[in-house]
Symmetry: C2
Subunit: 378 residues, 2 copies
């Protein structure tokens, strides 16, 4: 498996990004990803019960269609908490993209990120779509990756390649953050394109496992977004023997997991106001679920995160967060090892001494700058 920290579109994919006027700054705010070939698609969405309109539409398309060819994403507006009008707006965007690309409407996925509770300016989007489509190209992914950014300070992109039989398969992912930080303006979105030939069932298994061990293992402020989406399109352009299980699925899953983990770490590194990247390893748990609950309880502790910002080796705050996680642990079982706090990377190891399971979670410190950014945003 080869990995580069750049976006290189797999065979059969094109992309583009334009500024349609949703962002007052005039920056790129509308992205399109297109597959020349019919692709299978899987997606994971936020579990927040208030979910954004485009996600509702995506779920409908994923149920009704078998193949997909396009993903339209705008930044600057989340199209969330916008009622039935919001769903009509998302649907209208999908319709115009389908018309311009001459593809089926339910083969288009849509997504949005930005402020919650404001109607989407559909007219601006519709007006920009013809130009967005006519400008599609392989290199256009570099515009697309910037058009999905909101408070991100750098673009998040990775491409891996691996052999499936005699063929080389590529997986390219782009994402925006900044984690679950500021979900009303900076939702986590990730789009993955691959030229692998893979069954939908196999792709879903690979994606479920990859997301569980990457995006579901990061937290910035514990705030769950209304728009979180990870979607993958596989268009079979690599011509490999179709992946349905066995070793080829394991290889593909590992590569997909690597893409997701790399992007998830970038999201944490770009967390608003953060000065530290914190890795938390919890060992000795009864099962992986327990290990993860404990790791997330520490990672979401405002006090722990403030202590790390202050380079304050306060292991009492770790003990407090472990005890508050809801697991019934005895003081004598708990071993805490907090690494040096001076650098940009901080490592915490927690041993629960009651089993063999483990989990790893990534988070950032909590800083006065984070509060300022989120207090002052309008």
């Amino acid at each position: 498996m080869k990995k580069i920290l750049k976006a290189v579109l797999p065979a059969g994919f094109k992309a583009n990004g334009v500024a349609c006027g949703l962002k007052r700054s005039g920056k790129l705010d509308l992205a399109l990803i297109y597959s020349e070939f019919l692709a299978v698609a899987c997606a994971k969405f936020t579990t927040n019960s208030i979910i954004a309109a485009p996600l509702i539409l995506c779920k409908k398309h994923l149920r009704s269609a078998k193949r997909f060819q396009a993903v339209l994403v705008n930044s600057g507006n989340a199209n969330c908490f916008t009622g039935k009008a919001g769903i009509r707006d998302a649907s209208e965007c999908a319709r115009v993209v389908a018309r311009e690309l001459k593809i089926a409407k339910n083969s288009v996925l849509v997504n949005s990120t930005g402020i919650i509770g404001k109607r989407l300016e559909v007219a601006r989007i519709k007006q920009a779509i013809p130009g967005l489509v006519s400008g599609l190209s392989s290199a256009g992914i570099h515009k697309a990756k910037r058009a999905i950014m909101t408070t991100d300070t750098f673009s998040k992109e990775v491409t891996v390649s691996l052999k499936i039989g005699a063929r080389t398969v590529h997986i390219c992912g782009i994402a925006k953050g900044a984690g679950m930080i500021a979900p009303d303006m900076a939702t986590m979105l990730c789009f993955i394109m691959t030229d692998a030939d893979i069954s939908k069932a196999a792709l879903n298994r690979a994606l479920t496992c990859s997301v569980e061990n990457s995006f579901n293992c990061i937290t910035v402020d514990g705030c769950m977004s209304t728009n979180d989406t990870v979607a993958v399109l596989a268009n079979a352009a690599a011509g490999n023997q179709v992946i349905t299980g066995g070793k080829t699925l394991r290889d593909f899953s590992n590569a997909l997991a690597s893409v997701c983990l790399e992007l998830a770490k970038m999201v944490v590194k770009d967390a608003e106001g953060a000065t530290k990247f914190i890795r938390i390893d919890v060992f000795g748990a009864r099962d992986q679920g327990e290990a993860k609950v404990v790791a997330l309880s520490i990672a979401n502790s405002v006090l722990f995160k403030a202590a790390v910002f202050g380079e304050n080796p306060n292991f009492g705050r770790v003990a407090q967060a472990v005890g508050a996680s809801g697991i019934d642990i005895k003081e004598s079982q708990l071993k805490i090892k907090l690494g040096p706090l001076k650098g940009k990377q901080v490592k915490l190891k927690v041993d629960l001494s009651r089993g063999k399971a483990k989990a790893t979670v990534f988070t950032s410190d909590l800083t006065p700058e984070y509060i300022k950014i989120n207090a002052e945003y309008n």
Copy 2:
């Protein structure tokens, strides 16, 4: 019912506070509350599974004894995460207090607040106990209330009186905060003294209900402490007909609830770095538990609290927190009303439109100052 925001000890109670040297600042750090008469006692403790040594001892005494006469509390050290040695230390303190007061050892309750993970300097405490006992007086409550403070900027005290039959009964409470903020240095403790004659079962019912609607309805940073304690002693000195149920219990419960709620609000108002006191009312829930889960989800949202600090009327952050609370609510059901943000008091009303139950929760905003305080503490 009459209420004053001062501590006035009920009949039969004395108290004192001294500086025994646990606080490097030389401030008061050891408090004693004493009842001349045998009192019934009830207490509620943290549900963190890592609990401090004195709480373990208290639980043992509350199981083994029927009547209580003293509460010893130190600040400057939480005696938590200190293993069996910590329990021996707490026990030794109780033994010396009992010897000096000539009362049974298991009639003494003990508590501690301060840093986690350091052995208690028992020698300092033991040396101070004779003077602490000889100086007991009614007015000594004003030293006791200060001796339990850590990062508190003001003492928290309230006294109510009410008629039970022909007799006047008094309930006096003192507390320290600052909420669940900084539980490794500033645990929430509350001690309530009453001269009411009340059965233990009735007292326990009154306390359970009072705590549920006061201390369990406040949050500062969502961090659950290892030392949280609310304890009440009732010594029957008022000579009322014993309260066991019916109207007199309802009246007493209301008065006790009023004491707890007043102290709980003071704890939130004194939260580290806070500039706003936020009241969150959730209406239209299926049951009270659901209303409280939603209210606490909002109250613990770092993003919502940062928005309030910035006087930023961002109702999308409220919707996000409601949806993330785990209840299955539809967007169309949710009504949010956020009051003016300019003043010191902020009111938020959330209607879930699916039932008749409601809950109220109090919290503070989250500020850069909070992060600084907790980053810099050593």
